[in-house]
């Protein structure tokens, strides 16, 4: 039987199979037709074959920076794209502060709130070279724990070399940039992530010589203090996943959208073209001179947010067709900074592969066990 992707469906059905339609009232034809036998009545099959997937699947990188990656996955189904997205959010491991041993905390902020704030600080450490501590937890060692110390005290700044006297009003070096007048004349009133000091365990110093472990950002405010207050604690980072707690999520956001496709069934010319261009808030349309007639063209379809403004006015829904390509995903992955975003996506795919093979093994064991039972 011929496969449905090789053609054979009537044009309008083919369009409904591969596109979703954005209409004024609601989106239409949003689902994917999955069942292998869905088109059997038309003499077409709709099954999956790895050969076909290998032939058709494409990846195009749009932009890549240390923090964000934008790329297109073309020729894949929502079920799989969504699995990658979910894994990125919740199942790619990172390191985060999990245990806080508070030796002294006389600041305004309560111990448990302080510990929670510490947990959320992104740590620049490659979780792939660490191990989970498990449940019950393994003994801490250099392969499953990163240790930090925080020891800060707030004092009044005194004029240099002077005997005890009135506090000098002025911005202390460590509070530079704070700008808040209430911090004036105080030393160490702002406790930031930069105050966390890494205490290498065992051979960690050697192992991470090239990329010393530290918070990703130095300027995350943890607490504010007044003179005389102090915080002294030790914090342990452990390996974990976002499913357990969001602090282990390696991404700020990981999302996808379908490729917008805007078609003008009939040329839109003259004043109408100007109206159309003016209607779009994201500047999707351009006006070009085609044979002396100013004609609207779809210049930047990727800008489209599917806001439907261009089809809202009477009659326009027939002149502009808004569709999205069902198997073209524009992914955007923004890392918290521990690992580059492209590495995170690779890790997410590896997690899915691991899951598939683990389940296959478990399934084999489970059925073997069942057969041996009386």
């Amino acid at each position: 039987m011929k496969h449905v992707s090789e053609g054979g469906l009537p044009a309008h059905l083919e369009k409904q199979r591969t596109r979703m339609f954005v209409k004024n009232a609601a989106p239409e034809h949003t689902s994917t037709v999955e069942a292998a036998s869905a088109y059997a009545a038309s003499g077409l099959e709709n099954s999956f074959s790895i050969e076909r997937f290998r032939r058709d699947f494409r990846v195009e990188i749009q932009s890549l920076s240390a923090e964000e990656a934008v790329f297109d996955l073309i020729g894949i189904d929502a079920a799989l794209a969504n699995a990658f997205r979910r894994i990125l959010l919740a199942e790619v491991p990172t390191m985060a502060i999990e245990k806080v041993f508070i030796l002294n905390n006389t600041s305004m902020i309560q111990d448990e709130v302080l510990a929670h704030r510490l947990g959320l600080i992104p740590i620049r450490a490659d979780a792939r070279v660490f191990q989970f501590r498990g449940d019950p937890p393994d003994d801490p060692n250099e392969y499953n724990v990163i240790s930090f110390r925080l020891q800060v005290k707030c004092t009044k700044q005194r004029s240099s070399g002077a005997s005890p006297g009135p506090a000098v009003v002025g911005c202390a070096p460590s509070t530079a940039g704070s700008g808040a007048s209430s911090d004036a004349g105080l030393l160490g009133s702002r406790v930031t992530s930069g105050d966390l000091e890494w205490i290498p365990q065992g051979e960690q110093e050697e192992r991470f010589r090239d990329a010393p472990i530290a918070p990703v950002h130095d300027d995350i405010l943890i607490a504010k203090m007044r003179p005389g207050q102090e915080i002294e604690l030790e914090a342990w980072c452990e390996k974990g996943i976002g499913k357990t707690h969001a602090k282990w999520s390696p991404v700020c956001t990981a999302s996808y959208r379908l490729l917008p496709e805007i078609t003008l069934p009939k040329p839109v010319t003259g004043d109408d073209a100007t109206t159309l261009k003016g209607m779009c808030p994201t500047n999707v349309f351009d006006i070009e001179d085609l044979a002396g007639v100013p004609t609207a063209t779809v210049a930047r379809p990727r800008n489209c947010t599917m806001c439907r403004e261009c089809i809202r006015h009477p009659g326009w829904d027939e002149r502009v067709l808004l569709t999205r390509v069902k198997d073209h995903f524009i992914f955007s992955v923004e890392s918290t900074g521990a690992l580059p975003p492209e590495t995170l996506f690779q890790e997410s795919v590896k997690v899915l592969m691991q899951k598939a093979s683990d389940i296959a093994t478990l399934l084999k064991d489970a059925t073997a066990g069942q057969q041996s039972e009386p």
């Binding site: 999955e34 069942a35 292998a36 036998s37 099959e45 709709n46 099954s47 999956f48 790895i50 997937f53 290998r54 699947f57 494409r58 990846v59 195009e60 990188i61 890549l64 240390a66 790329f71 996955l73 894949i76 189904d77 079920a79 799989l80 969504n82 699995a83 990658f84 979910r86 894994i87 919740a90 199942e91 990329a211 580059p340 492209e342 996506f345 690779q346 795919v349 590896k350 899915l352 592969m353 899951k355 598939a356 093979s357 389940i359 296959a360 478990l362 399934l363 084999k364 489970a366 059925t367 069942q370």
Partner: protein
């Protein structure tokens, strides 16, 4: 993981412990795309219970065998996605002339 096989071999309910929609929906999709499948569906009975049930009815072959095949497909698909993605990143780097970040 637990597997429960009811009635004849061609229909089974599989219980996956500590799994959710991530694997539920992907496996359901892979199975749905196989001609051997006549029905497949999954559910997470309660969001607070780390459990996912998959019901599979085949047109004849043993359900476990079909599920095995689907998992194999899923593995191969991911493997190909990974390879293609790595190649695309490498290509992008050469085009941009950007060095490896780390």
């Amino acid at each position: 993981m637990e597997v429960e096989v009811c009635g004849d071999e061609s229909a089974a309910t599989f219980t996956f412990h500590n799994e959710d929609h991530t694997i539920g929906n992907t496996v359901r999709y892979m199975l749905n795309k196989m001609p051997e499948t006549s029905f497949v569906g999954y559910s997470v009975p309660h969001p607070a219970e780390p459990k996912m049930n998959l019901r599979l009815q085949t047109v004849g072959p043993p359900a476990t065998q079909v599920l095995h095949e689907a998992l194999g497909n899923l593995y191969q698909v991911s493997e190909h996605v990974l390879k293609t993605f790595e190649a695309a990143v490498a290509k992008h780097r050469t085009e941009q002339g950007a060095p490896e970040l780390r």
